[in-house]
């Protein structure tokens, strides 16, 4: 007797089925990239969402009176009266020029350019200044006095990052749905191709679950193989991007290089791919068999 156990239904031998692992692989690859996006953006949002900022800046723009220094001193006086403020110091013109140097070289900076005066405000630890009251007080000193609180735009940036993470999550869900649809289409094709064998098994008394298991195990196998392929390529891609970003030291980019937990989730993607394929295949077969007498 031949010891080799042959598959009861020769699934996966037609041309369309042979391509399926690559389609699943591509989808898992895209899901891996979306996952990296979710992880990176969530991490960045979390980081941004908890700013430990103990400084703010007040900008005093020159006005027609030309006495910017006097207005600056009045602003400092208002600031130091706020109990949250530890220290308020006017930044010198030289320091302002140094800040502008990366954009406008010192040589091209015209000497009579009216530059705003900046006040560096250091806050007491954990204290929050009454910005509304300060803004109101500054308004009495004339136009062009602005408080630049980094926490405001950091909050907005954090919110934007969280929104992007949600979008990346939705993309992952869509990829999962597309994967399920592919599994359904492929299972229906396989049911049509192997209709006679399925009917024969049904007439021999095979339970629906027995027949469904044949399809679902094949779908699981294809999902795992395709998923492993896609996840491996995604891991290599993300590692490569991470290394490139690291070499650039470009902190402006989000750190898309996955850390160990991210790689663990990436490693779970083939399992998820396999399970989605197996489950949808099973449901498709069971629904088709219900139409048989």
């Amino acid at each position: 007797m031949n010891p080799t156990r042959l598959p009861i239904i020769p699934l996966g031998r037609d041309a369309a089925s042979r391509l399926l692992p690559f389609v699943f692989g591509l989808m898992t690859f895209l899901a891996g990239l979306a996952l990296a996006g979710v992880v990176a953006l969530s991490g960045a949002s979390e980081q941004i969402g908890k700013p430990e900022v103990d400084r703010l800046t007040v900008e005093v723009q020159p006005d027609q009176s030309g006495d910017t220094d006097a207005r600056t001193q009045l602003v400092i006086a208002h600031l130091t009266r706020d109990p949250a403020v530890a220290e308020a110091t006017a930044i010198s013109d030289d320091e302002v020029a140094a800040l502008l140097q990366p954009w406008l070289s010192r040589d091209t900076l015209p000497g009579d350019l009216a530059m705003p005066r900046l006040i560096d405000v250091r806050l007491k630890s954990g204290a929050t200044p009454n910005l509304a009251a300060l803004s109101e007080a500054f308004a009495t000193l004339g136009p062009g006095i602005k408080i630049d609180d980094p926490r405001t735009w950091l909050d907005r940036l954090g919110s934007f990052g969280r929104s992007l993470a949600v979008v990346a999550g939705i993309i992952m869900a869509l990829i999962a749905a597309a994967l399920g649809v592919m599994a359904v289409v492929n299972t229906r094709m396989a049911l049509a191709v192997h209709r006679e064998v399925v009917e024969l098994l049904h007439l021999m008394g095979a339970k629906d679950s027995f027949i469904a298991r044949l399809f679902q195990m094949q779908a699981l196998k294809v999902g795992l193989i395709g998923g492993a392929l896609g996840a491996a390529i995604a891991a290599a891609t993300l590692y490569g991007i991470g290394q490139a970003v690291h070499r650039l030291d470009a902190t402006i980019f989000l750190d898309v290089a996955l850390k160990a937990p991210g790689y663990a989730v990436l490693a779970a993607l083939p399992v998820a791919t396999g399970l989605i394929a197996a489950l949808t295949s099973r449901v498709t077969v069971l629904r088709a068999l219900k139409r048989m007498p």
Binding site: N2, L6, P293
Partner: protein
């Protein structure tokens, strides 16, 4: 010689193993191809369904192996009224039926052994049981040397015997055969019929659909003649 035994409209139905009552069948919205079938088959019987090609013998067998549901009437199989039997329970009833299809329906991608083992796998038999029973049965039908062959390489007669082995491997309560002698010479046909008779002797109820009256005369058993979509029950005596 064939003589009428009982009128088709008045079968003994009370203790029937298989019972058809006023059964009619139509495909879709077409005309009825079978109408007013009334008969009962008792355990251990050997019956022929006799009639010319195209008269509906295969359709009647399909009703018997639960491939079709009747358009009207009641069918009882193994004490279960099919109209009220939950779909999930029909699989267990089908496992009590062995079928030798007219076109054999062997799976070309499987070996002879795997084809014959299929009903055992469906029934959940262990590998040890399969390894014990399948070669034994293949020896009985004379196919020991073809165990690892695939159906496309077999002759018509060999395929027929594989189909029979597959149909009887689970020792079914009911064996149905659709034109089992249709593709083979008369000598081999007689040998196959003897094989069916041996199975019948050990308790399997056998129903054979055939158009071959000569064969029926040579191996006489109860006969149901199908004509014009209706059935008359006859009894046969030895020639």
């Amino acid at each position: 010689m064939i003589r009428q035994r009982t009128p088709a409209s008045a079968p003994t139905l009370s203790s029937a193993f298989i019972r058809f009552e006023s059964v009619g069948l139509r495909y879709g919205l077409g005309p009825e191809v079978l109408h007013d079938l009334n008969f009962a088959i008792e355990p251990g019987e050997f019956r022929y369904v006799l009639g010319p090609s195209g008269v509906g013998k295969t359709t009647l067998l399909r009703l018997l192996y639960l491939s079709l549901r009747p358009s009207r009437g009641l069918i009882t199989m193994f004490g279960h009224e099919l109209a009220t039997t939950p779909r999930a329970d029909l699989a267990a009833l089908r496992r009590r039926i062995g079928v030798v299809f007219q076109d054999f329906r062997l799976l070309d991608h499987l070996t002879v052994v795997e084809n014959v083992a299929l009903p055992l796998r469906i029934a959940g038999a262990s590998e040890a049981e399969i390894r014990q029973h399948v070669p034994e049965l293949l020896g009985w039908v004379g196919l020991t040397d073809q165990m690892n062959a695939r159906p496309p390489t077999l002759s018509g007669g060999q395929k027929q015997r594989v189909a029979i082995a597959r149909a009887v491997i689970t020792k079914p309560d009911l064996l149905l055969a659709d034109e089992p002698t249709g593709n083979i010479d008369s000598a081999l046909g007689l040998r196959l019929l003897r094989l069916f008779e041996e199975l019948n002797k050990v308790g399997t109820t056998v129903v054979i659909a055939t158009h071959n009256e000569a064969l029926v005369t040579q191996r006489p058993h109860s006969i149901m003649r199908l004509s014009g979509g209706t059935l008359e029950e006859l009894a046969a005596v030895a020639a």
